[in-house]
């Protein structure tokens, strides 16, 4: 049952990966990567139960945290780039 759930989560991640490759915008890719990140957290939790080692939950929390900070960092970076070239977006400056 848990193994089936783990496979299901992997399927979700694979589908999200297709979106990450297809894009088209950078935001679509980050959306997909963020989705893979939250699914990874669930996968680690399920795998912890599957292997009978619930201390994996600490790793899941750590991963969730790093994933969140990473996504926010990537988005801040995009906003900064979007705000920088004056000819395309003059209203930003």
């Amino acid at each position: 049952m848990l193994a089936a759930a783990a496979v299901g989560i992997l399927v979700v991640m694979a589908l999200a990966l297709v979106r990450a490759f297809r894009g088209p915008s950078i935001c679509d890719r980050i959306l997909a990567v963020n989705m893979i990140g939250t699914k990874t957290v669930l996968l680690i939790a399920v795998y912890g139960f599957l292997s009978g080692r619930p201390d994996f939950l600490d790793i899941a929390i750590t991963y969730a945290l790093i994933n969140f900070v990473g996504v926010i960092a990537a988005l801040k970076f995009i906003e900064r780039i979007a705000a920088s070239p004056p000819p395309t977006r003059p209203e930003e400056l």
């Binding site: 750590t62 900070v69 900064r80």
Partner: protein, 138 residues
Amino acid sequence: MNDDIVLTVIGKLLIPFILLFALYVQFHGDFGPGGGFQAGVLFAAGIILYALTNGTAAAMRLIPPGLLAPLAALGVLLYGGVGVATMLLGRHFLNYSVLAQDAVHGQHYGILLIELGVGITVAAVMLLIFFAFTSRED
């Protein structure tokens, strides 16, 4: 960079708990997965989240960058100091068994101190690198 209400507020509410989680990982290194390196990264990630959401200037007020290089050195010093202490007590470098009355407790304290040194250094160096990159752009 203009201010985003949601990000600034959430950033502030999360940080104490992220830092506490980092310290929890730090001190439970020999009970479960974890240890100094992960804890240092998590601690730095908490401060970096604050810098991203509330601005680098606010983060530099919270953790003065001038403090970071001494802290990084302190971590290495702690690591080396434990090793030298074990040598002074007549054993090999980092043979913790002599740090307490019995070997088990000695190992325990030794690992705790070593991991603390690793954690401090990793967190300080990560923040140093982060500040070095962000302050160059502003």
